[in-house]
């Protein structure tokens, strides 16, 4: 019961933000990227609930529109690694032997490689933007799913229901799809929840380094970077986008925890 509550609260919190992002134009009448040089650096007012930034843009509006970018990339950046990692994990765990050795050495290499060095190198090649971020996260991200699924496959392989399926002469592909996958995927789904948070953190970090989504598009990382110069006078400019990341992280962790309990029942 308690675990369901966690799950619902998490889903509730996240959906609230997702809905706000989708219906952003209905919630706020301001344009997130249109400067207004008369009203720069305002404190909170009845019009601008969270004040304005150095270019006179409404902070509240930019936070909501920022959610569109950060959540979308966060989700997108997890889908590909999830598919690649799970498939390779199934394969390597099932086949064992040489295939396993080769894939696992590749995995080790990727784990040893510092993520941000790779991400920044890719940004140099493809230029800053959503494409580079997704490629960078995909290149590194699949490794974790591969290891999780492989470990589960190694255990499941020796279970009676798999032996039974083999004895009936079913082809490997069918065993993997129909019998193995549903039983080994749950941990990966749980991990994907926290992985989304990691992806968002990566996007925000790259944005902070000026290598993420190009200005002036509202994005939490570049908002933190822009606000940093005003930390001694208008601390909320850099703090609020940071709190948004915390909010998303919190709700996804709740969902993850709830799912663990659910799937293990």
């Amino acid at each position: 019961m308690k675990s369901s509550k966690t799950l619902y609260v998490g889903v509730g919190l996240l959906s609230a933000l997702v809905l706000a992002a989708i219906f952003a134009p209905l919630i706020t009448s301001f344009d997130p990227n249109e400067p207004d040089y008369v009203n720069t650096l305002l404190g909170p007012t009845s019009q601008h609930w969270l004040g304005t930034d150095p270019l006179g843009r409404d902070v509240f509006t930019r936070l909501i529109y920022g959610a569109r970018i950060d959540l979308a990339i966060g989700l997108l950046a997890v889908v590909l690694p999830f598919i690649i990692g799970v498939s390779l994990g199934l394969l390597t765990g099932w086949r064992g032997g040489k295939t396993d050795s080769i894939i696992m050495r590749v995995v080790d290499t990727f784990i040893a490689f510092p993520f941000y060095v790779l991400a920044i190198a890719l940004v140099f090649i493809f230029g800053p933007g959503i494409k580079s971020i997704i490629i960078a996260i995909t290149l590194v991200g699949w490794v974790a799913y591969c290891r999780i699924v492989r470990a589960n496959v190694l255990v499941a392989k020796e279970q009676d229901y798999i032996h039974a399926a083999r004895l009936t002469g079913l082809p490997s592909s069918r065993i993997l799809r129909r019998h193995m996958l549903p039983n080994v995927i749950s941990q990966s789904i749980v991990f994907a929840m926290s992985d989304i948070v990691l992806s968002i953190l990566a996007i925000v970090s790259l944005g902070y380094l000026g290598l993420g989504v190009p200005v002036p598009t509202a994005e939490w990382g570049s908002m933190i970077q822009e606000g940093q110069g005003y930390i001694s006078e208008q601390w909320w400019l850099a703090t609020l986008p940071g709190l948004m990341v915390v909010y998303v992280g919190f709700s996804l962790s709740l969902i993850g925890d709830g799912l663990v309990a659910r799937l293990e029942r």
Binding site: E34, T40, P54, L55, P128, P216, Q225, E226, G229, S232
Partner: protein
């Protein structure tokens, strides 16, 4: 009583005389105070030929030149040279050197040292172009230097005041260049002590400095602290004495602090929006003018420089000789911008890309402002950020469409910037824009080779007007130099050529 008063009076009079004589002498004997700068750039090199802003302020405390820029930045004053005479044809310049100058290793300054230093500067691949007019340097006696120019050359004294013409001992005092620049010897008020790359560089007082009574400080240390806020807090907390280049956005908070003084020094510096004329759309003068009109200089000044700069009207920054304050330039006017665009082939609008340095808040804000106003006249501008060192390479390779750039004058004469930024001789394809206007080039040549101020003024006024008409670049903002220091510091001053002399500074 009477006699006693007289005696006392005479005694005090004598004391006053003694004090005035003694004070300068005793001050020289014991410089006091250790001053700490915090700055956002790390020191790189003592070699003047390779110097950029990160290194040259520090070099200038160790090395000196024959001349140096005056406080108002409008002229030069004799420094290691005492005086000069010019031959009738204007081609031979004879300099008399000061005879009381010693290098920090104790050996006296001679004409041979000057010849060596100037020849090396001329051969330099970095700033050698400044000495392009120098034909030969001779040292007929220990205190006489003769410079022959290839043609009449008005900016010679200004060139000699440039940091690139710093005077060093002949043959680097017997060392190789690499060895010498690791432990340099100059005539300046401070001597190199220790450099920890990535952390700090320390100079200590030159005990045998030739100006009596100076320097006042025992040592000066420049600490590399990348974060703007940390530098601000270090200054407020008394861990630093001078903050080099506080961001304009921090100025208000610094001015409000009781123990901090803020210096807003007029600068001979300019920011530009550069166009690559190889891009078809930007080879169209109407498009370039349209964009120039669309730069909201007041907004950039407000947002990026907290209103401390001034909108530019000329390619030349104010403070430089022959800067024309009446040059109309191109100012923000969206109606005129739209009209110019309508005259071009791109009536229906066009797409352009602006290259900026990633993580540079000033450039990012400028880009956002520009994008918003260009949208109103039908130009869709995308913004591409590159890591700063990559951005520089892309700019030099001219693989950009538009980019943000700037210039700080190193000499008071406009020739350095005009040659570098406009003519083929500058070796930069007119500041990497591919602009080439024969009339402008001729006028610059005329200004260089003519010593008559009236002729030069006419030539340079023409150049300023013409390059604005051609909208070769958009001239955006003239930013000031910003510094902040604690109220323990006195005598700190930055001249418009971005040069300060620590020998005049006191702490305590």
């Amino acid at each position: 009583m009477v006699s006693r008063k007289k005696t006392l009076g005479a005694f005090f009079a004598a004391l006053t005389v003694a004090a005035t004589v003694l004070v300068p002498l005793s001050a020289n004997a014991s410089p006091t105070g250790d001053l700490i700068f915090v700055r956002s750039q790390d020191f790189a090199t003592f070699d003047p030929d390779l110097a950029q802003n990160d290194s040259l302020f520090i070099q200038q405390q160790v090395f000196e030149g024959l001349y140096r820029g005056t406080k108002d930045g409008k002229g030069v004053e004799p420094w290691l040279a005492k005086s000069h005479t010019t031959s009738k044809d204007g081609l031979t310049w004879t300099f008399k050197l000061r005879t009381d100058v010693k290098f920090s290793n104790g050996s006296p300054l001679t004409a041979a040292d000057v010849k060596f230093s100037l020849d090396r500067a001329t051969a330099g691949t970095g700033w050698g172009f400044i000495n392009e007019a120098i034909g030969s340097v001779e040292a007929p006696s220990t205190d006489t230097v003769v410079i022959k120019t290839k043609f009449q050359w008005a900016p010679l004294l200004a060139d000699l005041a440039c940091f690139s013409n710093s005077i060093m001992p002949k043959d680097f005092g017997g060392k190789t260049a690499a060895e010498f620049f690791k432990d340099p010897i100059g005539t300046g008020a401070f001597v190199f002590d220790k450099w920890t790359p990535g952390t700090e560089i320390k100079l200590v007082a030159n005990k045998s400095y030739w100006q009596p009574g100076k320097p006042y400080l025992n040592s000066v240390t420049w600490k590399y602290v990348a974060d703007d806020n940390t530098r601000e807090f270090m200054l407020k907390g008394g861990q630093a004495d001078i903050n080099e280049e506080p961001p304009a956005t921090n100025i208000k908070s610094l001015q409000a602090a009781p123990n901090i003084k803020v210096g807003i020094f007029p600068a001979a510096a300019s920011n530009y929006l550069a166009f690559n004329h190889k891009v078809p759309a930007l080879s169209d003068v109407n498009v370039r003018r349209a964009i120039s009109y669309a730069v909201d200089r007041a907004a950039i000044n407000k947002v990026v420089y907290s209103g401390l700069g001034t909108p530019s009207n000329s390619f030349l920054p104010p403070g430089v000789n022959y800067y024309d304050k009446n040059s109309p330039g191109v100012q923000f006017d969206l109606k005129k911008a739209a009209a110019e665009l309508a005259k071009s082939k791109y009536k229906k609008g066009l797409k352009l890309e602006l290259l900026i340095r990633g993580g540079d808040k000033k450039q990012e804000a400028t880009a956002s402002i520009l994008q918003a106003s260009l949208k109103k006249i039908g130009i869709t501008m995308t913004i591409k950020a590159q890591e700063p060192s990559v951005q520089r390479v892309t700019q030099k390779a001219m693989e950009y469409e538009m980019t943000i750039t700037g210039w700080t004058m190193d000499i008071v004469d406009p020739d350095q910037l005009l040659t570098f930024g406009l003519t083929p001789e500058g070796g930069t394809s007119a500041y990497f824009t591919n602009y080439n206007n024969k009339k402008v080039n001729e006028a610059i040549k005329k200004g260089q080779t003519n010593v008559d101020p009236k002729v030069r003024a006419a030539a340079y006024t023409f150049v300023q007007k013409q390059v604005a008409d051609d909208a070769f670049m958009a001239f955006t903002i003239n930013p000031p130099y910003l510094y902040a220091w604690t109220n323990k510091i006195t005598g700190f001053f930055v001249n418009p050529l971005y040069s300060y002399k620590m020998e005049d500074v006191k702490k305590g």
